[in-house]
């Protein structure tokens, strides 16, 4: 498959490197050339210096034939604009935005856009790792929680 990863921070570099290792074609876009150092040593994909919502940049990345766009930049709003652009302007089937703000993530999910609500996911993971039962302050005293 052919994926465009927008943003080459830790998360972007991680998913781009993984997809590449799995044999998919990957193009990574970042504003800062230095960011590409985060990609794995064996990364065989393409890197492009450019902005997330610059149409010319997305076209040169081959968005018109991309199977997926993955928006991972530091800015929730840039990611949300990038996936809207991918879906509506370029008819890309899968476009997923990393969104740190949980409220914003669920609002845009309701509008029909795929998001990775990273804060919620991390919160869930911590909660699960602890594995605590809910503490009910007004619970039965005999059970003494």
């Amino acid at each position: 498959m052919y994926a465009i990863v927008i943003g080459c921070g830790r998360a972007g570099a991680e998913i781009a490197s993984r997809l590449c290792e799995q044999g998919h074609s990957v193009v990574v876009i970042d504003r800062d050339r230095a960011a590409f150092h985060r990609l794995s040593d064996g990364f065989a994909g393409t890197t492009i210096v450019g902005h997330a919502i610059d149409e010319d940049c997305l076209v040169s990345a081959g968005i018109e034939r991309a199977d997926a766009v993955i928006a991972t930049t530091y800015g929730d709003n840039s990611n949300l604009i990038a996936v809207q652009l991918a879906r509506k302007r370029f008819k890309v089937k899968r476009a997923i935005a990393r969104v740190k703000d949980s409220v914003r993530a669920s609002a845009f999910e309701r509008l029909g856009f795929e998001t990775i609500p990273s804060t919620t996911i991390v919160g869930d993971a911590f909660e699960q790792a602890l594995g605590w039962e809910p503490h009910l302050p007004n619970g039965d005293p005999e059970n003494g929680s």
């Binding site: 919502i53 709003n77 949300l80 809207q84 652009l85 509506k88 302007r89 409220v103 914003r104 845009f108």
Partner: protein, 224 residues
Amino acid sequence: MFVIIAGGGKVGGQLARDLMAERHEVVVMESNPGKARALQDEIGDAVVPHDASEGRWLIDAGIGRADLLIAVTGDDEDNIVICQLGQALSEGRARTITRINNPKNSDTFRTLGIEAIVNATDLVMTMIERDVSVAPVVHLMRLRSAGLELVEMTVAEGSAADGSTPEELRLPEQGGRISVILRNGEAVLPSPTTRLHAGDSVVLVAQTEFEEALGRQFAAPTIV
């Protein structure tokens, strides 16, 4: 009306003052602490020192009961998402309006159908009808569906407009209409016989096709 303004810079601050003077209830959201404090000193509790695209703060600010959300941060992506978020969180109740800072983006957003989401046109038209001064914002807007633009022009010394009245300039026949004159920091509502002077800024509703020709009347004469 209860209005939430996202962005407490020059435009947001001016809008807040205008709307408060019109006795509207206003909340301004500004995430830059310095800017927020400066505005707080002036308009007090109406300032929320947080990012409007952060869902919980937009809810806290009262998006659930807002009549209008105006996004005037310096970032187009933020403005668009703030409007979309505002519509989602108010379940479509709040009307939203924004400006596009970078003309290159306006094409992008148009292809997204953002214009339908950010319903600027009817709001701006309503405001003009009511002669509410929203000059700092509207000069940046295109009322594309109506084939109109709101433009701000400054009267150059020695231009055709310098010393003339709107009537003498025959603006209406040329597809333009002055909605407000900004003179020495005051907004003046023009009559057909109000004389323009060099240094005045005028906010014009102009038919898109005539904008250039209108602009020439306000520009300094070129030396041949």
